[in-house]
């Protein structure tokens, strides 16, 4: 059975069902919407089981042929441990944020879910594509629904944010497309595995071309990740997009950047990557510190977490730049971990906004009194974000720094400043909102509803699970990591 194809396109069932419904049937629509995201979740678990059961999931069909077979693009899907984990992350976060959306989106729910499901197809495709062109197609497909999801259902400056998103990411994917087309034109293949062999040895292409490619990759995924100074769009999206979308965005879409850098950057251009690793580390360091320091002076909850994402993605870069097993595994862990944590944080920000209609730090305070449960979750999420042991954030940060200290101890030492700053700004934001005097009392304050509680608890459970027993994941990652290390001759 071609499980991967079924998985990727399973949201189509939801799209079909939804398009049959009338816009007025709100309850049915939200139920269908949620179930439509649960289906891929279940399928991804099937894929997980297949993967560990030793089933061969990879498939390859002829798809497009340019120039009478001169350039052959195949429909090639496949997964390794890394992409499997991201796949799971995507289906989980999607399902959770769908349930959040069902509760929080007040109008146009049907259209929302339609776009949402298209987005999910794109995300699932990105993580399963074994072919650069196919990867790009799914990568680019995510742009469109995101544009509408932000622009239609977002907050005040939603359209500006939507355009920011579109143009930055459009430029990013433009660079990617040129790169992929160039690779295709030079080597005649876009199969990732084949490229690893071709680029890894021999002189199919010049050294300059390889470095150029790496630079292009860095720019393309640097927009997505984002790497300072390409991050401003991301802050805008985090602040102005609807909460459910930010969950997806921070939780999954940003991870595509990390996925691309690790899978293609190291996977295909490992030797060149090793040479520019110090530069990458500096970028990561800048990200880490810049994000942390800026998060420290933001006056708005969502921007705090937006810069926090910038900062946390810096750790991914640092881990990758370490170019050793610990660092890369740390980067991968950070990718997953931040996905879960950011989703949880934004879920809770959404809950707070729902009750208070503000996210300004100045007008919030002492919420723990009115909504202790939400405050507790918020605090827990904050702790996870600042890398508290026992939660996923610590494991990833530890590994990333463990790796970096081996290869670049001085940079790593400076980087630890970021860990302190993270604590500073997270506590400033989280405690500022939940602790202290009640700044304003909000009418109709109520604690987490069950509908909000379930996704929050699920996310927290996963965060804690990874934190308590990280080997739970390393098992899945093992082979992927080995093959990546092979790419850098380690």
């Amino acid at each position: 059975m071609d499980w991967l194809t079924i998985l990727i396109f399973s949201p189509l069932i939801g799209i079909l069902l939804l398009s049959l419904l009338q816009a007025e049937q709100k309850v049915t629509i939200s139920l269908t919407g949620i179930l439509a995201t649960v289906l891929p979740l279940l399928l991804s678990l099937v894929v997980y089981a297949q993967f560990h059961g030793g089933g061969d999931l990879a498939i390859s069909h002829q798809w497009i042929s340019f120039g009478n077979g001169l350039f052959q693009i195949n429909y090639e899907l496949g997964i390794d441990g890394f992409s499997l984990l991201l796949l799971l992350l995507a289906t989980i976060v999607s399902a959770l944020s769908a349930s959040v959306a069902a509760a929080q989106i007040k109008q146009g729910l049907k259209a929302f879910f339609l776009w949402f499901l298209i987005l999910e197809i794109g995300m699932l495709g990105v993580f399963t594509a074994e072919n650069l062109i196919l990867f790009f197609i799914f990568f680019e497909i995510t742009l469109v629904p995101m544009f509408f999801l932000i622009g239609r259902w977002g907050f005040v400056e939603r359209e500006k944010a939507a355009y920011s998103f579109l143009i930055y990411n459009g430029l990013g994917s433009a660079v990617l497309l040129i790169l992929f087309a160039a690779i295709f034109a030079k080597t005649g293949t876009t199969n990732i595995e084949e490229l690893k062999t071709i680029m890894g040895s021999g002189d199919a292409v010049s050294e300059e071309f390889r470095f150029g490619s790496l630079l292009a990759l860095l720019i393309a995924f640097g927009v997505k990740l984002p790497i300072v100074p390409l991050h401003t769009w991301m802050v805008r999206v985090h602040v102005h997009a609807p909460i459910a979308v930010v969950m997806i965005h921070a939780g999954i879409l940003l991870k595509i950047g990390a996925y691309g850098l690790i899978n293609f950057g190291i996977g295909i251009f490992g030797d060149q990557f090793a040479k520019v690793a110090p530069f990458m580390a500096v970028l990561g360091l800048v990200n880490l510190l810049y994000g942390a320091f800026l998060a420290f002076v933001q006056n708005e909850l969502k921007s705090v977490f937006a810069y926090s994402s910038v900062s946390h993605m810096g750790i991914v870069l640092l881990g990758v730049a370490a170019m050793n097993e610990a660092g890369i595994q740390g980067a991968i862990f950070q990718t997953l971990s931040h996905g879960l944590i950011a989703a949880l944080l934004f879920l809770l920000v959404g809950v707070i906004y729902e009750r208070t209609h503000t996210t300004k730090l100045r007008s919030l305070g002492g919420l723990a009194k009115g909504m202790p449960l939400a405050a507790g979750f918020f605090l827990a999420a904050g702790m996870a974000s600042l890398g508290l042991p026992g939660m996923s954030g610590f494991v990833s940060e530890f590994m990333a720094f463990l790796g970096l200290f081996e290869s670049m101890p001085w940079l790593a030492a400076i980087g630890t400043l970021g860990i302190i700053m993270t604590a500073v700004y997270i506590l400033r934001a989280v405690l500022g909102v939940t602790y202290g005097k009640t700044v304003k009392s909000f009418a109709g304050m109520y604690d987490l509803t069950r509908r909000e509680m379930i996704p929050a608890a699920a996310l927290l459970a996963l965060i804690v699970l990874i934190g308590i027993y990280p080997n739970f994941i390393t098992h899945t990652l093992q082979f992927a990591l080995e093959s990546i290390m092979l790419g850098i001759g380690g």
Partner: protein, 501 residues
């Protein structure tokens, strides 16, 4: 040359042209003698049937050996056939749109509208099927003059008049340029027959004629740039597109433009690859490509940046169409093995998405006083399917995956980078301007999905335009997902080596 020789030619290969000629003539005669009260829409269906028959003839000719009549004044080869199919399909769809076009009675000469469209098509087809400068020129003029009149058929509209006038003046100048260039080509080779020319030209010592040939090249290209609306001859397009009736705009932006590319490829590729270039061991075409690539780049930049400021939807599409002409020049400039395939496929995609978009524009504007983009406001909430189809076209124009436009762009890219030397700068300009184009394409989508419904104007969906829309949308998506359907057809059925004599 006696009658026997004349009759010995295989005239049946001209069946598509004859069909169109016959239908056009018949329509013009019927139009004269039939009462004014007879609904002229029937003419439209008649014309559609004619095009359909011509299309069938064309398909039946696939696989035909390269054949010619009268020393290549008419030539049937893979090149002509493959592009003729495009021209016919495009015209068919435009005519389907035209049958439904009812811009408040402004189109008084409906009968004429149909057969002028057919004569224009005939001219374009002759351009595709000829390898003689004279025939090419006459075909070109037939298309051009038909287009002038078509652009002015909304006589009562000052926009339409003005559009036609501007079209004529610019067209006249362009014709002069083209002819000036062609006159040198003729003079330096002593023949108007492309086959003879290409044979002759390789015998000529370069120093003597090279400079004048290069000038002829530039003159011809700039003159023909008018037809495909690329820099520096693109400025008429927005005004004419805006003023002309919407089906005519669609015709100009698709059929006429395709014909322009056909003649450019035919003339330039027949002659200039065989001429000694400025450097050793390069062809003149090769040496001059740099200028063309600059023009292509400027076309993309101009089209996409000016489009950013447009509020009038037809004007916006005019700039978009300029930009697409720029994209289409890229494979020509790159001149790689993929050139014909890239151009042909992109023209297919462009045909589908652009005619589809114009069909929707026609539906949206014909009952509204405005052509402002705001007429699309909230369309999704009024007529979701129209909005969805428009989205498909816009996404395809923007080159988003899942649509034919993406595959076309991808093909162009690979070709541009596969060529030697790789055209990196051009590829970068192309993709960069594509990203700029997101702004205005998504702007329209933003209108449809994110704005409250503005005017509650009735949107009627006559059958003709509906067929066009649905066909184009289906085609755009199908080719986006399974481009193999036409790519394979193209690769297996058409052997482009045939076009060299």
């Amino acid at each position: 040359m006696d009658m026997d020789t004349l009759l010995s030619y295989e005239w049946s290969i001209m069946a598509p042209e004859f069909t169109i000629l016959l239908v056009a003539t018949a329509l013009s005669l019927i139009d004269l003698f039939v009462s004014k009260n007879v609904d002229r829409k029937l003419f439209g269906w008649f014309g559609i049937a004619g095009i359909a028959i011509a299309l069938i003839f064309s398909f039946s000719q696939i696989g035909h050996e390269p054949a010619m009549i009268l020393a290549n004044t008419y030539r049937l080869d893979a090149f002509s056939l493959s592009f003729k199919i495009l021209l016919l399909t495009g015209s068919l769809l435009v005519l389907l749109m035209g049958v439904s076009f009812e811009a408040r009675g402004e189109l008084t000469y409906r009968g004429e509208f149909y057969y002028l469209l057919l004569t224009g098509l005939l001219g374009a087809m002759m351009m595709a099927s000829s390898a003689d400068l004279i025939t090419l020129f006459v075909g070109l003029e037939l298309l051009t003059i038909s287009s002038y009149i078509l652009a002015g058929t909304r006589k009562k509209s000052r926009y339409s008049n003005e559009a036609a006038m501007k079209y004529v003046i610019n067209g006249g100048i362009s014709t002069a340029f083209t002819l000036f260039g062609m006159s040198y080509i003729y003079g330096l080779t002593g023949s108007t027959n492309l086959a003879d020319i290409s044979r002759e030209i390789s015998n000529i010592t370069p120093a003597n004629v090279q400079v004048l040939l290069s000038i002829a090249f530039i003159l011809t290209f700039v003159g023909l740039a008018f037809k495909i609306s690329t820099v520096p001859f693109q400025m008429w397009a927005p005004d004419v597109y805006q003023g002309a009736p919407t089906p005519v705009t669609a015709f100009l932006s698709v059929v006429s433009k395709t014909a322009g590319f056909i003649i450019i490829i035919r003339v330039l590729i027949s002659i200039f690859p065989f001429t000694q270039g400025f450097e050793e061991n390069t062809s003149l075409l090769h040496s001059l490509m740099i200028f063309l690539s600059v023009l292509a780049g400027m076309t993309m930049i101009v089209g996409n940046t000016i489009a950013l400021k447009q509020r009038n939807i037809k004007r916006l599409f005019a700039y978009s169409s300029i930009a697409h002409a720029g994209y289409l020049l890229v494979p020509f400039v790159a001149f790689s093995e993929l050139m014909f395939e890239s151009m042909w496929f992109y023209l297919v995609a462009y045909l589908l998405m652009n005619i589809g978009a114009f069909a929707i524009i026609q539906v949206m504007t014909e009952h509204s006083d405005s052509e402002d983009v705001s007429i699309f406001a909230g369309l999704y909430y009024r007529r979701p399917w129209i909005a969805i189809m428009m989205t498909v076209f816009l996404l395809s124009l923007a080159g988003i995956p899942g649509t034919a436009g993406f595959i076309g762009k991808l093909n162009i890219f690979i070709g541009a980078l596969f060529s030697d030397p790789s055209r990196y700068i051009l590829a970068v300009v192309m993709i960069g301007t594509t990203v700029i184009s997101y702004f205005y394409y998504f702007g329209i989508m933003a209108q449809m999905f994110m704005r409250p419904a503005g005017s509650a104007a009735q949107v009627r969906l006559p059958v003709g335009v509906t067929i066009t829309m649905v066909f184009c949308a289906a085609g755009t998506i199908t080719l986006g997902l399974f481009p193999g359907l036409v790519l394979e057809f193209f690769q297996t059925q058409f052997n482009f080596a045939e076009m060299f004599y």
